[in-house]
């Protein structure tokens, strides 16, 4: 369904939003959550439902709006997001989703979230940099990352790519990566981190050791640059494709139907 020719003039945020939207095609019929500070995945969810996953159910952060069709606004809990929604979850509804419900055995429940640190096994951290008792940087908290051990799958996005974010091992495990602890404690069906969408490329955890692996490079980015800006040894396959750029149709939808105020193009993204 990428039925339109590649665009040439687009922002990195638009490229990332489109990449996440396309990934949602495998989640047509599934359920997805985004968190706070999530203008980018908000745009992705809207684009995905228009083009790739019309049966995706998604929740716009703590405001709880399901399948909102409003324009992108910066706060996912903004009440304008309720416009065009199909249901408004309260916190009990949200926590009910955050916990375990593989009893249905049908749809997957996925999250698209960020982190102040993400490590080579895909653990994420929102709590602190440095020692927990005496942190260098105190983060926002453990928030909803409890779903890192209950949702079917977790996708990460970051607006920056540098060795402070991509660390060898997180200083606090908000959501565990592909580690022994996950295999020991987490129920089957909760498959953990899948992909990372950064300003430099897309990454998976399909190396033999289930560490982060380069999957595609965004146009104009080299593997060397990614390696330099990553704080651990990245798995790099022999052939690394270039990330497909947005199509004209995707960009037209993003700019006219989804994000007419241009929130996405104003995002502070650094490489």
């Amino acid at each position: 369904m990428k039925s339109s020719k590649p665009a040439t003039d687009y922002s990195i945020g638009e490229l990332m939003a489109v990449s996440i939207a396309r990934q949602m095609e495998v989640h047509d019929g599934d359920w997805a959550a985004i968190g706070a500070y999530s203008e980018l995945p908000m745009a992705s969810m809207k684009l995905a439902r228009l083009l790739y996953a019309p049966n995706l159910w998604w929740m716009s952060g703590g405001g709880g709006a399901i399948n909102s069709t409003s324009k992108v606004v910066r706060s996912t809990s903004d009440f304008r997001v309720i416009r065009g929604a199909e249901y408004v979850m309260n916190m009990q509804d949200i926590v009910d989703i955050e916990m375990w419900r593989f009893s249905r055995g049908r749809e997957k429940v996925v999250a698209v979230v960020g982190g102040i640190q993400i490590d080579k096994h895909g653990a994420s951290n929102m709590v602190c940099v440095g020692d927990y008792a005496n942190p260098t940087v105190r983060g926002v908290g453990t928030v909803g990352l409890c779903f890192g051990v209950s949702f079917s799958m977790v996708y990460f996005f970051t607006l920056h790519h540098n060795p402070k974010i991509f660390v060898d091992q997180v200083d606090f495990i908000s959501s565990p990566g592909h580690t022994e602890a996950r295999r020991k404690y987490v129920p089957e069906g909760c498959e953990g981190p899948q992909l990372v969408f950064s300003p430099l490329g897309i990454f998976d955890f399909e190396s033999a050791a289930r560490t982060m692996r380069l999957r595609s490079l965004h146009p104009g980015v080299t593997a060397t640059e990614v390696v330099e800006k990553t704080g651990f040894e990245l798995a790099i396959p022999d052939d690394v494709p270039e990330t497909d750029p947005p199509t004209e149709l995707e960009l037209t939808l993003l700019r006219n139907a989804i994000d007419p105020d241009g929130v996405l193009r104003e995002l502070r993204i650094t490489r």
Binding site: M1, G29, P54, E86, D96, M99, F102, L249
Partner: protein, 298 residues
């Protein structure tokens, strides 16, 4: 206009089906929860179709206060086990087939109160391992049903506490005034525990008075009582709760519930279930005038 209308994107799939397809989602031996309360909002047309189809050996967890839906499922031979919070006909007395089956020990009964039922469904919906109960419940006759409760330790006080299990039905069946083709439900009156049933059940079927367009839902998403992602199948069944009420659409048909109560169950089932071809043939037995007279808005 959607992009699907001009062939540029796949189309959202509707979940609309028939009562026959609904029964196809219910297997012999399933744990079944049904919505509504007392003489209100029970999915009666679907229950009659289940009886007509010969569904057997269900473990019904019912609803928190079940009346005729529970009684007719027992009378129709569908039930092996019943988790009972309340089964009765309010001011119309005991539920006769439930009472007979219980006294003759033809069905297995698990007694659990409203806390057991509601918090059990809540736990089942989300994978909480069990429900710890507040102190005091040890003073009731819990020892008589040890199969209902277990015990563990409150690590904060060291006290022993009563716990009950998570409840995760195989199938939940609900009737509501409105539902869109994608499963978004609107209750015009009480939701009772229908939302919890939808959350906790592996498969959820909604019968509805009227399938409304998605735009009707989007007009006021705060009215939506159950989000559609919990719903597997939507069936439009006008008067689908009769002879119970559908809150906000029509009142319960109390004379018919009395007729049911006092009837020979086999004769009743022959006349109103096996002897009618489908739901509309059932409704024809009452006639439009009587059905219209039941209508009442909130």
């Amino acid at each position: 206009m959607e992009l699907a209308d001009i062939g540029m994107a796949p189309r959202r799939e509707e979940k609309v089906g028939t009562l026959e397809e609904a029964v196809g989602l219910i297997k012999n031996g399933d744990m079944l929860a049904f919505g509504g309360i007392h003489s209100h909002n029970g999915p009666m047309a679907l229950i009659r179709q289940m009886i007509r189809s010969g569904i057997k050996d269900l473990h019904a967890i019912g609803n928190v206060s079940a009346g005729m839906p529970a009684d007719i499922l027992i009378g129709g031979g569908c039930i092996e086990t019943f988790t009972v919070c309340y089964v009765g006909l309010e001011h119309l007395g005991f539920a006769p087939r439930f009472r007979k089956a219980a006294e003759e020990r033809k069905i297995k009964i698990i007694d659990g109160d409203e806390i057991y039922y509601v918090l059990g469904l809540k736990a089942g919906a989300v994978g909480l391992p069990f429900v710890p109960h507040p102190p005091g419940h040890e003073a009731r006759d819990n020892p008589k049903f040890e199969s209902t409760y277990a015990r563990t330790t409150d690590p904060y006080t060291g006290r022993e506490v009563i716990v009950s299990p998570a409840i995760a039905p195989d199938v939940g069946i609900i009737h509501a005034a409105q539902c869109d083709p994608f499963g978004n439900v609107v209750h015009l009156g009480s939701v009772v525990a229908d939302d919890l049933i939808a959350k906790a059940s592996a498969r959820t079927i909604v019968t509805t008075e009227e399938i409304v367009p998605l735009d009707s839902i989007k007009r006021d998403p705060k009215r939506t009582s159950i989000p559609g992602h919990y719903v597997d199948l939507v069936v439009e069944v006008p008067y689908g709760a009769h002879p119970l009420s559908c809150h906000g659409v029509y009142n319960h048909d109390e004379p018919h519930i009395v007729e049911y109560r006092d009837a020979d169950i086999d004769a009743y089932l022959q006349e109103y279930v096996f002897g009618v071809e489908d739901h509309f043939a059932y409704l024809e037995k009452f006639g439009i005038e009587r059905l219209m007279a039941l209508r009442e808005s909130l």
